[in-house]
Symmetry: C2
Subunit: 333 residues, 2 copies
DNA sequence: TTCAGGAGTGTTACCGTTCCCAATCCCGGC
DNA sequence: GCCGGGATTGGGAACGGTAACACTCCTGAA
């Protein structure tokens, strides 16, 4: 910077002003400085800037299982938006959903003086940990449970999504809809259960028992085998697409045709759900958009920490080939 | 830091020495300082440290399509290893595989003074761009084409993997093996083609034509439809699992049974490949391990920039239910 | 007893910015 | 022609660490 100042024949302070687009610099001077910067291939030292301004222009993301499509897409969306807003993104993942590891991740990011944090927070433990973050550090939670907590959140209307799926199946003429749920201690799974249950109840349909376990295909496979044995089962709503994949396999192996005999609906709309056997009807979440929104919320919160806002995104039903009317002999009454 | 020094009754320099584990500090003094740090909840200001040492203790990752399982897993592996090595990880993604966007990403990271860069580099353009990175900044490319370039690389033995798959099918008794290739301008796709072709040639089998297109399920579906029409086709090696998913769907819809009539092999071993219909035999890449290795290579290169090393990881065949001997009437001779 | 040398500690300078304040210049109004 | 005030610029002083060097002890050998 000193070199630039010397070359342009001004003080280092003026160079700084040009850099920060301070209004009170004469056009001509500014041009001279810019030229000098150009010819010296100058770039400002962000560490020095951070030292004095206490702003690193870096945002932190803490995430769990970032290897899966959902979290990875959110991260992608966040990074994309952060870039256009002039921020770099640092990540800190944690291996289990306890308070401790989350706080450690926050701490690590804090050490590096991030200006704000977005947590991909599928469980309350994460959001709770966030409320313990030091004051003055803006945090936003995305993707998990909403909450009246002190932390702004962005989330999907899981209950609404589940309702969409259930409604769709009922409208096709199914007497009731079975559900293969996600893990019982995940708010997202709970909300989907709630949405499903309420829709059935409102329609006066019987509410079959559920056995919440996990998010993966194996769960779907195991529970799908049981459901396949029950001839009364004609419609299954799965808590996510991976579970649906397992269910489809179980049904197929049991010789029950989809969608002729049994209809199946998923949740998420993973990249290749449209190529399952058969192509999966599912509830689509736009993860990247979720990421973008959470970044916008974070920036807003950083600018003026008003009362924490909560953004809810509405998912959308994508109808493909895994759902149809129930077989004739079983149609209502 | 000044406060800590005052509380411990020493100079700030001594505090610094304790912080950096300098040997020449008396046990007792060290203890006093540590206690003071504890009671003041002191944490060093990394910006200041970076300013003077020119080391940010931050690593950069540049990545493409980090939303997919492979890249996301590598990122995960890298972050994991980086954490234990005391580094934070920042990411910069780019949207297309040209030189420009890649260089911009590198530049962004450089502005933030990262100590090194790992590029998830599926195409040569990325690796090439890396060689233009400023001297003194260590770079490693992972996951794409290896190269005698000036950049250390970590990659999977794609040809070997393809050979494994092809060999497996030939050993089952298939006359030849068809291939649904990935995009022709991706080195990984090329290597898999080469491995497949060589294996066939070495076995004296006919080499069917290929039509390299893209990595997704749609490609598999479209090409699978054509292959399904040809009764001579009994074995298909797909360039990745997503393609295999599409092929499976096409075969199923054409009424050709897998594996009784046609065998299918994938590549990658995505999380739920074991729940495809039928469970997919595939070639497994350990992406997270790839990430860890690339980090190790980067650290090594940062410590002493010797001649660029190249690490090659051997993939492994996972046999599941999508492969079997060809139907009797078509067995050899 | 003297002195070399290492352990332990403090002093000062500096890393590259931005902030605060003062200085200078220029303009219009009286 | 003098003066108030905004525009423009420059000169330090931070920011919170680390590096280099100097200094004070203390020990052991000559």
């Amino acid at each position: 910077m000193r070199d630039v100042a010397k070359l342009a024949g001004v003080s280092h302070q003026t160079v700084s002003r040009v850099l920060n687009e301070h209004p009170n610099v004469r056009q001509e001077t500014r041009a001279r400085v810019l030229e000098a910067m150009e010819s010296l291939d100058y770039r400002r030292n962000l560490a020095a800037r951070t030292l004095v301004t206490r702003q690193s222009h870096t945002l932190g993301i803490i995430g769990f299982e970032t290897t899966l499509f959902g979290p990875a897409s959110m991260l992608y969306g966040i990074e994309d938006a952060a870039r256009t807003a002039g921020y770099l993104v640092s990540i800190a993942t944690f291996r289990n959903l306890e308070r401790r590891p989350v706080l450690e991740a926050v701490d690590r990011l804090r050490q590096h003086a991030v200006d704000g944090i977005i947590a991909i927070a599928p469980k309350h433990a994460v959001t709770d940990a966030l409320t313990q973050a030091p004051a003055g550090l803006s945090c936003v939670a995305v993707g998990g449970a909403g909450g009246g907590d002190g932390v702004p959140t962005v989330r999907v209307d899981n209950a609404g999504g589940a309702q969409l799926a259930t409604r769709h199946l009922l409208d096709l003429g199914h007497r009731t809809v079975h559900h293969v749920a996600g893990p019982g201690d995940w708010p997202e799974a709970q909300e989907r259960i709630a949405g499903w249950r309420e829709t059935l109840t409102a329609a006066g349909a019987e509410v079959p028992p559920i056995l919440p376990q996990s998010w993966n295909a194996e769960t779907g496979y195991v529970q799908g085998q049981a459901l396949a044995r029950d001839p009364a089962v004609t419609a299954i709503f799965c808590a996510n697409d991976r579970i649906a994949l397992g269910v489809l396999r179980a049904l197929h192996e049991a010789g029950r045709k989809v969608p002729e005999e049994v209809s199946v609906v998923g949740f998420d709309d993973m990249p290749d759900s449209g190529y399952f056997l058969p192509p999966l009807t599912t509830v689509r979440q736009d993860f990247a958009e979720l990421g973008r929104l959470s970044l916008a919320l974070l920036l807003q919160h950083m600018a003026g920490p008003e009362s924490p806002a909560h953004v809810v995104v509405t998912p959308e039903l994508v109808v493909r080939a895994s759902t149809a009317a129930p077989p004739k002999r079983r149609s209502r009454r």
